[in-house]
């Protein structure tokens, strides 16, 4: 139990020992926490890491072990989507806004973007349909549109209406 997690920590240079792993397992057994990843993150840190200068290494190891479970929010509140949207709409000119309305609004366009991202699994450059770089499709980076759309992590999609 948790042996892989333990060795992932050690691979990332967190100095932790068997004794501490046993403590963690004992804590889980006694149900100090139950089925809560955020609490597990803290509990494992309390028991396994004894120096605040090692917290960074621990965070990296934890993220790599729980890849895909990155829903844990280590940085407080995420950016409010409503706010992002308002900020984006503010940057459009009046006629662009009109065009956006004809296309079915921002929601519709974002839905298309999401659909296309689902369809496309490979990296893509040029062309006129897929999301990628240097193309003419409504989505993608470094395209013909001067404005960029930033969402989630670092996806920059140039918007062309």
């Amino acid at each position: 139990m948790l042996v892989d997690f333990f060795f992932t920590l050690r691979r990332y240079g967190v100095k932790t020992s068997l004794r501490e792993l046993l403590d963690l397992i004992r804590a889980l057994e006694q149900q100090v926490i139950f089925a809560d990843v955020a609490a597990f993150y803290h509990l494992a840190r309390i028991t396994l890491v004894k120096d605040e200068s090692q917290f960074d290494k621990y965070d990296r190891a934890f993220a790599s072990y729980f890849e895909g479970v990155e829903a844990i929010d280590l940085f407080g509140d995420t950016i409010d989507e409503e706010w992002l949207r308002k900020e984006f709409e503010k940057r459009l000119s009046a006629e662009e806004r009109e065009k956006l309305r004809q296309e079915g609004g921002l929601d519709e366009l974002m839905k298309k973007l999401r659909e296309r991202l689902d369809e496309q699994k490979k990296r893509h450059a040029g062309g006129n349909k897929w999301v990628g770089t240097g193309g003419t499709s409504p989505f993608g980076a470094y395209g013909d549109n001067p404005e960029g759309y930033v969402s989630g992590k670092t996806v920059i999609a140039a918007f062309q209406l």
């Binding site: 403590d23 100090v32 609490a39 309390i46």
Partner: protein
């Protein structure tokens, strides 16, 4: 018995988890953090919320591990022997109990605070390894073994002045108290001053966090300094306007002596304000 902070102490969720894990698994809890973030207070509030005794052992640079267990008072014995006192025949009369012994004998599970363990010699934590692990020790003079009936809740604080030995750290749970965010700070202040004018609080916190952002300060003001400063502001009845920046220029907050404790810091601060005004 889960700890959730008290009416006068705001504990973050991860701190509560650390405390409860330490209580459940009977491990000492090592608390680190900037001075003034409420490390010592945690033990006091924990004892109060559990309704149990707090046994405090404050560590100095001269403290030895043995003093926490017991001391043999040879001088009193010598004097008693010269005066022909009968007590002299029993060495047990001259064994003075230390804080650890006191904690081991308590009837209700007490909170034992070992405050500022980093002040002592590097060997100090190592000398306590077995005692904290097994919660027992041996008195050579009287040949008795003292064992804790109930393992006390041990809270250890450190200001990070010295590295602690690995073997010691492995036996503890560790929590680092982060400096509170402005939101948490607002809660903390409200707990201490329920009736503080909210505008004054707003302005005071803005000045305070700005002051903390000045690069190169030797000792950044912390929560306890903020609370002292607010006490002064309230006592002097300073209007919120006095704390506001005038036309975006930096102004010296009144009574800033409560926030900055270092001569060089005050000079640096005054210089910066002077430059900003020009």
């Amino acid at each position: 018995m889960a700890f959730q902070g008290t009416d006068s102490y705001i504990a973050s969720n991860d701190l509560q988890l650390a405390v409860n894990a330490a209580i459940t698994l009977e491990r000492p809890l090592l608390i680190k953090g900037e001075p003034g973030t409420g490390k010592t207070l945690l033990a006091e509030e924990l004892a109060a919320s559990l309704g149990t005794d707090l046994i405090q052992w404050h560590i100095k640079s001269t403290t030895k591990a043995q003093q926490g267990l017991y001391e043999y008072d040879a001088v009193s014995r010598l004097r008693d022997s010269q005066l022909g006192d009968d007590r002299v025949h029993d060495i047990g009369n001259y064994i003075v109990k230390g804080k650890l012994w006191e904690a081991f004998e308590a009837e209700k599970r007490p909170v034992l605070l070992i405050d500022e363990i980093d002040k002592a010699d590097i060997e100090f934590p190592n000398d306590l390894l077995l005692e904290l692990d097994k919660m027992e020790f041996y008195v050579y003079e009287t040949q008795q073994r003292i064992k804790a009936a109930i393992r006390p809740i041990v809270v250890i604080t450190s200001n990070n002045e010295k590295e602690l030995p690995d073997a010691f750290l492995r036996r503890c749970f560790f929590h680092y108290i982060k400096f509170p965010t402005p939101d948490e700070m607002r809660q903390i202040v409200e707990v201490h001053f329920p009736k503080i004018k909210s505008r004054l609080l707003e302005e005071a916190l803005t000045s305070f966090f700005k002051l903390r952002d000045i690069p190169g300060l030797k000792k950044k003001p912390s929560t306890s300094e903020l609370i002292d400063w607010l006490k002064l502001l309230v006592a002097e009845d300073i209007p919120p306007e006095a704390l506001q920046d005038k036309e975006g220029k930096t102004s010296i907050p009144p009574l800033y002596g409560a926030l900055l404790k270092n001569e060089q810091d005050i000079h640096l601060f005054e210089k910066l304000v002077f430059m900003a005004r020009r």
